[in-house]
């Protein structure tokens, strides 16, 4: 009964999306025809109400599916494929977004949630602009709701035979981090739909001024914040779950989320120029559109299974085709609109070489290039195969060899940019503080260079360069800093920490795979790892072998780690549970490999200095975005007056 209710609510939500689009569109059209700002208030209010109704019915639908998961209603196909009655409640709840249909439902729920937020923030925008926005968001919802209803209904029943047991969730997905990783990522993807709708609205109305950019910024920041958190947690999950000690693999699915992140980052910076200087407007619109395009493309790549990836969970060309058509229609229309309308949006402001505009331009060029290289590396194998039938893969060395130089440039400019001013920067106030930072960073790096390799020296030089310039920036401007400025400082600090984490851990880590039996020991860096025991055990839905590994340094006990090798009973899949001794300066990482016979096991024993800084940096970047989000100037309640 409840699943049918959910299905019915989904259909109602679809109807409300149609009505939202029609009402929003009607009110926007009427506003465009009358030359005043007068507007058909009935339809604009109705559009808002429909938008809220759509969200509420999707919420009902979502809760119904969640109910089916919690109560183990295996008559629902999707539940029986994703869940199992032995699963702890937490994983039954998160099992909802473990597969295609459920994650799509979560996706539209979030889309309508963002839509509802936009609908409620009605006062800050001219009514016609707001109505257009609502109509476009309704249109996007419509597409996704149709996709769910026609190709991937999560409420379909398995009749006539109802299984008494489900198929269980893939054990790799049974992890706390994976409960929140997909929702965060989807929040980010979907959040950029607001930026996209804003861009399209600007093209339709022909108005893109500073106030509009200011309105657009917090939405973009929030979407990017979610995407950042999603990627950080995904990387953290890969690090401790996959048991290879890696945290980023340049896998197509990872790249799919990284590309919109890079462009989203460029967009945030460009919107600052639009808001402050009324420049770069067309570029901002193009970026907003492309970012959302990459979000949709990411969904397409993941859902269609078109790319060979370790993540590709299901291959369904029919679903892929739907997303592709949706993508072609939405983005094709947006592109045509852009080419037709963008020339109307003009900006004519000049700026000097040494100006923040120029620095932000460089930032944009570098980030866009970075995104383009990821794009090329991800899709090149696919296109080559279509043309030549050759199957190739692009190895991670490609990505590192193009990314490292781009990032070095990016970090050099990142240190200098905050010191610059809009329009023009007096050379005196620019060169002196920067030289002090540069010299201190180089001296520090030089000292490091005595003891450690060249690459480490470069990393330290770049990282400290950014940190020093940020500190100077704080010292010089501490009286006049807004939340937005603090956000920038925190996020850039995060970038520096991330850089140090990546650079130092990559160059100083020690990874050894060894064959061990109880009593054996192995030396890794300054630490001695001794295997002291191997014991069987069991959990709610698995059996396991637990290793005891004692770690000593200079004959002093550091810690005892317990890596596991689990075998899940429902589907007989083996999975390693890594054991990590975390630390701010180093991680000690142990994972059981496989039994080699004669009581020997293969064991991964890794020493990873500064690796934690990678996620710490990512979290700081997110914290910076959050801080900027709370800037007071985004909270203006009154309607902006337009002429």
């Amino acid at each position: 009964m409840i699943p049918e209710l959910g299905h019915f609510a989904l259909i109602l939500a679809f109807c409300f999306a149609v009505m939202q689009t029609v009402a929003g569109g009607k009110s926007a059209l009427l506003a465009a025809q009358s030359y005043t700002n007068a507007i058909d208030t009935t339809s604009s209010k109705a559009a808002v109400l429909f938008c809220l109704a759509q969200f509420i019915f999707l919420l009902i639908s979502f809760i119904s599916l969640e109910y089916a998961f919690i109560t183990n209603d295996f008559s629902v196909v999707y539940v029986s494929a994703q869940s199992h009655s032995d699963l702890p409640l937490m994983y039954r709840i998160s099992g909802l977004w473990g597969g295609h249909e459920g994650s799509l439902l979560l996706w539209v729920l979030m889309l309508s949630g963002w839509g509802a937020m936009v609908a409620l923030r009605r006062k800050a925008l001219p009514r016609s602009t707001h109505a257009t926005l609502i109509a476009i968001l309704g249109l996007l919802s419509l597409g996704f709701l149709a996709f769910i209803l026609f190709t991937s209904n999560p409420f379909a029943r398995l009749l006539p035979i109802i299984p008494i047991e489900g198929q269980d969730l893939n054990p790799l997905l049974q992890d706390p981090a994976l409960i929140i990783h997909p929702p965060l990522l989807y929040m980010g993807y979907v959040g950029f739909s607001v930026a996209f709708a804003c861009a399209v609205t600007a093209l339709i109305t022909g108005r893109f001024d500073r106030a509009y950019a200011r309105w657009m910024r917090p939405w973009t920041l929030m979407a990017w914040l979610f995407l950042t958190l999603g990627i950080v947690i995904g990387s953290w999950w890969a690090y401790y779950v996959l048991g290879w000690g890696g945290w980023w693999f340049w896998d197509p699915v990872e790249n799919a989320s990284f590309m919109p992140w890079l462009l989203g980052c460029a967009l945030i910076h460009t919107l600052a120029v639009v808001e402050k200087r009324n420049a770069f407007k067309r570029w901002a619109i193009l970026l907003a559109m492309t970012t959302f395009f990459l979000c949709l493309l990411g969904t397409f790549l993941v859902r269609s299974g078109i790319l060979t990836s370790v993540h590709a969970f299901a291959n369904d060309p029919e679903r892929g085709l739907y997303i592709l058509i949706f993508l072609a229609v939405v983005m094709g229309a947006a592109l045509v609109l852009y080419l037709w309308r963008a020339p109307q949006i003009k900006h004519t402001v000049g700026f000097d070489y040494l100006s923040r505009e120029n620095f932000l331009l460089i930032n944009n060029v570098l980030l866009t290039l970075a995104c383009a290289t990821v794009f090329l590396g991800t899709l090149y194998p696919l296109f080559l195969e279509i043309f030549t039938q050759n199957k190739i893969s692009v190895g991670p060395p490609y990505f590192s060899s193009v990314f490292v130089p781009l990032m070095i440039f990016l970090f050099i400019f990142m240190g200098a940019a905050p010191q610059s001013e809009f329009k023009t920067t007096p050379a005196r106030s620019f060169i002196l503080p920067l030289s002090i930072s540069a010299v201190s960073a180089l001296v520090l790096a030089g000292i490091v260079g005595f003891f450690l390799p060249f690459g480490v020296m470069i990393t330290v030089a770049l990282g400290t360069w950014i940190i020093f310039t940020l500190l100077e920036n704080l010292l010089i401007h501490y009286k006049s800093l807004t939340a937005s400025n603090y956000g920038m400082v925190i996020a850039h600090l995060g970038a520096a920490v991330l850089l140090l984490g990546v650079g130092l851990s990559k160059q100083m880590e020690i990874e050894t795979d060894v064959s061990m039996q109880v009593g054996d020991h192995v030396l890794v860096g300054p630490y001695t790892f001794t295997l002291t025991g191997l014991n069987p055990g069991f959990g709610p839905n698995y059996t396991t072998i637990i290793g005891d590994i004692q770690i000593t340094r200079k004959d002093k006990l550091v810690t005892v780690l317990h890596p596991e090798k689990r075998t899940y009973t429902a589907n007989n899949i083996a999975q390693s549970q890594t054991a990590i001794a975390p630390g701010l300066l180093r991680d000690l990482y142990v994972a059981l490999g496989e039994p080699l016979g004669k009581n020997r096991w293969s064991v991964r024993v890794y020493y990873k200095p500064f690796v934690r800084w990678i996620w710490l940096g990512g979290l700081l970047i997110a914290a910076g975005a959050l801080c900027a989000f709370f800037d007071k100037r985004y909270r203006i309640k009154s309607r902006v007056q337009y002429v």
């Binding site: 893939n170 790799l172 048991g243 299974g305 060979t308 370790v310 993540h311 969970f313 299901a314 291959n315 000049g350 070489y353 060029v365 290039l369 383009a372 290289t373 090329l376 590396g377 090149y380 050759n390 199957k391 190739i392 893969s393 692009v394 190895g395 060395p397 490609y398 060899s401 193009v402 130089p405 781009l406 795979d513 060894v514 064959s515 589907n571 899949i573 083996a574 999975q575 390693s576 490999g593 496989e594 080699l596 016979g597 020997r600 293969s602 991964r604």
Partner: protein, 149 residues
């Protein structure tokens, strides 16, 4: 002689700088891409000497039952991959992925030397129910080959 206004001059310099940066970036990128492409081959390709020796390539196939042999004290392991027509012996040192099983489709990355495949990496899919697409491809392609003793 054409004289540009100051504004135009500035813009021209900007555009030239951008183009220079862009083209060098594109050049470097394509070079890096070219260096890091791993072509895909099947066991039959290798047996018929269709694959380059010594170059890093990928190969996909099914792990032949009973062919997994381990070294006594180290992590060396060898196993045979088949595309149902031809077999290739793979040597590897390291830890095999959790989803490595006999009769399971896997992909190896490494070099083809002296009629053995030296693997640097062994990849199995996260999801045990599906074959890697490359392995399906390998078996599909093997139809063009005859068995070679």
């Amino acid at each position: 002689m054409i004289r540009f206004s100051k504004k135009h001059q500035k813009r021209a310099i900007l555009i030239i700088a951008l183009l220079l940066a862009l083209s060098s970036a594109v050049g470097l990128t394509l070079y890096a891409l070219n260096q890091n492409i791993n072509l895909f081959f099947t066991p039959s390709d290798l047996v018929h000497q269709k694959a380059p020796m010594g170059q890093t390539i990928r190969m996909g196939g099914l792990v032949v039952e009973g062919s997994v042999k381990r070294g006594a004290h180290d992590l060396s392991v060898s196993f045979i991959l088949t595309d149902t027509k031809n077999q290739v012996t793979v040597d590897y040192t390291g830890i095999l992925p959790d989803l490595f099983r006999e009769n399971q489709g896997i992909v190896v990355l490494g070099t083809w030397q002296n009629n053995r495949f030296l693997a640097q990496e062994v990849l199995a899919k996260h999801d045990e129910n599906y074959m890697p697409a490359e392995v399906i491809e390998a078996i599909k392609r093997s139809d063009h080959y005859e068995n070679k003793p």
